[in-house]
């Protein structure tokens, strides 16, 4: 118990030591993609592979949301024909994937990040600019 924290414990008791921001990677254009470069501040906290896997999964999910394929074209054409009024009634493909992403982030937080004293913030809350990782102070282990 000394080493692991639950998500609730973190939110209620821990204090923030610092925040790390994973910036966007624009090398492929304007699509939503985050840099997979492992930040130095997390070296002592989390495994590099785990981190890269999380970011890569997020990137894949966003790519799925923004994918130009048959389904999105169909949705677009249908929307155009109805003068885009279906956007008022229907949830778009992008929004559905965003929900998936939120669920994935919560799951990652609960299973992987919270026990290590970290917290991922859903990028949509930061305007899809950054993935914010909050590093909590590990009081139980003394000062780090």
């Amino acid at each position: 118990m000394a080493e692991t924290h639950s998500l609730q414990d973190l939110r209620q008791q821990a204090t923030i030591a610092s925040k790390v921001f994973i910036q966007r990677d624009y090398s492929s254009g304007t699509i939503c993609k985050f840099q997979t470069k492992f930040p130095a501040e997390l070296e002592t906290r989390i495994d590099k592979q785990q981190f890269e896997e999380t970011i890569q999964t997020l990137n894949n999910l966003y790519a799925e949301a923004e994918k130009l394929g048959g389904k999105s074209y169909l949705e677009g054409c249908l929307a155009c024909l109805t003068a885009y009024t279906i956007f008022l009634c229907m949830e778009t493909h992008y929004e559905k994937v965003l929900k998936k992403i939120a669920k994935y982030i919560q799951e990652q937080n609960e299973k992987v990040y919270a026990p290590l004293g970290l917290l991922l913030t859903d990028p949509i809350e930061r305007g899809l600019r950054v993935v914010e990782i909050t590093i909590f102070e590990d009081r139980s282990l003394g000062s780090r």
Binding site: R11, S27, L68, G76, R129, R139, S143
Partner: protein, 469 residues
């Protein structure tokens, strides 16, 4: 005797006076309506229907556009259609009606949709970016030289500029609209006819609007001309026809001038769509290779007209990033900040004295501030709570100040990390009222720590966030 006195003063009676003088913070915060994010939005936009509808600050000539369309179409349906149905074809009003509906709907959607506004950076983000830049002159009043970052996109070097207002490095194709005071993704232009910026999210609506409007004006022009031609048949002459149907003259004039401009605009935008360009890029000649080098080409184009059109017009609809209708958690932070001192159960209000003192200070300094508003450009119901508190904090600092901070303060940035979310609204306001110092003073003196309900609140918010607009 002493015992009697102690017994008379029972703990609850003792406890109640302390919270009663400042009953305003605690119960008021609970009964205070949770504020939506659109109410604390830092840009110069206006919101209606509780944040569902967003327009630019100046509606421009949108009323004129609407008026012209409605009047011309109205005159057409009332004066020309009966004659044409009788003498030509009965489907004319139907076609006109469909076009008219398309025009109005797409116009309203263009005007009232978030064009792709990028929310401003939170103070933590801004601080993080500052650290990465060479000259960390964050609180200086003069503008350092423009900061740029170079990125390679499709083997093409693209410069990303730093936006001083939004405190972010603008993503590619994003531009800051000075009229709306927002960074807009895939910024095309700010259209006064529509009263809004045209950007990533509403470009397709805009394109539909101008194309359907060009069809509508051409259709009305054609119908009116036919109408007048039919009336002037039989030796009656054009003057007679105009006298018989004066409304047609009005329509003719309006449509004649509109057709050329709207058709021209539609043609121009069709070219832009096919080349996957924005008006902004076209005007600046970003990819036209004006430097003479043949290597500059549009890195965003798929080099296939059909694919470009599909991508721009039928691509997935991105969500609104500003979450207008989400709730601002700032009230919680204002409430929990006093409880974050290293007192074990402070948040349970057991230590009444400390709580009471802080609340007293809060209320004492809060009330005069409610009247002294920061100059706001848009109608807002009240100053956000923490903003009002931002002023007294420096003066009230001595009282709660001696906080044994568990972690070292890194140049003041760390202190600002405690309540990042509410500050996003506040820092925007602080900027607008040009009181950077005040904001920084607030961040420096507020005790750092993680307010508990706020974290939980943020968790709830993250779930709420996904169901956007």
């Amino acid at each position: 005797m002493k015992n009697c006195e102690y017994q008379q003063i029972d703990p609850q009676a003792l406890a109640t006076p302390t919270p009663t003088p400042p009953p305003l913070p605690c119960p008021e915060k609970k009964t205070k309506r949770p504020r939506r994010k659109w109410e604390v939005f830092p840009g110069k936009n206006r919101f209606y229907c509780d944040g569902r509808i967003i327009v630019a600050r100046q509606s421009g000539v949108l009323p004129l556009t609407l008026g012209l369309i409605l009047v011309t179409s109205g005159l057409f349906f009332i004066f020309d259609c009966p004659f044409l149905v009788q003498h030509l074809a009965s489907c004319i009003p139907a076609i006109g009606g469909v076009l008219f509906v398309f025009v109005i709907i797409s116009l309203l959607q263009t005007s009232f949709t978030d064009p792709g506004i990028l929310p401003r950076a939170t103070p933590d983000e801004a601080a993080d970016i500052e650290k990465q830049i060479d000259n960390p002159g964050s609180s200086s009043s003069y503008r350092p030289p423009p900061r740029t970052k170079e990125v390679l996109i499709n083997q093409q070097v693209v410069k990303l500029k730093y936006c001083f207002t939004c405190k972010i490095f603008r993503p590619p194709r994003t531009s800051h609209c000075s009229l709306c005071d927002n960074c807009v993704e895939r910024f095309d232009h700010h259209c006064p006819w529509v009263g809004n910026c045209v950007g990533k999210r509403n470009y397709r609506f805009f394109y539909t609007f101008i194309v359907s409007l060009s069809f509508l004006t051409a259709f009305i022009f054609g119908c009116v001309t036919t109408h007048l031609a039919l009336r002037s048949q039989g030796g009656n002459g054009l003057v007679f026809a105009l006298q018989a149907s004066p409304a047609s003259a009005v329509e003719l004039v309006v449509c004649f001038f509109s057709v050329w401009s709207i058709l021209g605009l539609s043609g121009f935008h069709t070219y832009l769509v096919a080349a996957n360009l924005t008006t902004n890029e076209d005007i600046k000649g970003s990819w036209s290779g004006k430097s003479g080098s043949e290597e500059t080409g549009n890195p965003y184009s798929y080099n296939n007209i059909f694919k470009n059109c599909c991508a721009v017009l039928c691509g997935p609809m991105p969500p609104s990033l500003i979450d207008r209708r989400g709730f601002v958690p700032s009230d919680d932070s204002a409430q929990t900040v006093p409880t974050e001192i290293a007192l074990p159960a402070a948040k349970n209000d057991i230590n009444m004295c400390t709580q009471g003192t802080k609340d007293l200070l809060e209320t004492a300094t809060r009330s005069p501030l409610l009247s002294s508003t920061c100059p706001q450009g848009k109608p807002q119901t009240a100053i956000p709570f923490p903003e009002a508190r931002a002023d007294p904090e420096p003066s009230a600092a001595p009282a709660p100040a001696p906080v044994p901070t568990p972690a070292p303060v890194r140049g003041g940035h760390r202190a600002s990390g405690s309540s990042d979310r509410p500050r996003s609204g506040r820092s925007g306001k602080g900027k607008r009222s040009s009181s950077h110092n005040r904001n920084h003073a607030y961040t420096a003196t507020s005790p750092p720590g993680s307010p508990n309900p706020r974290r939980g609140h943020r968790h709830h918010r993250s779930q709420k966030f996904t169901s956007l607009h």
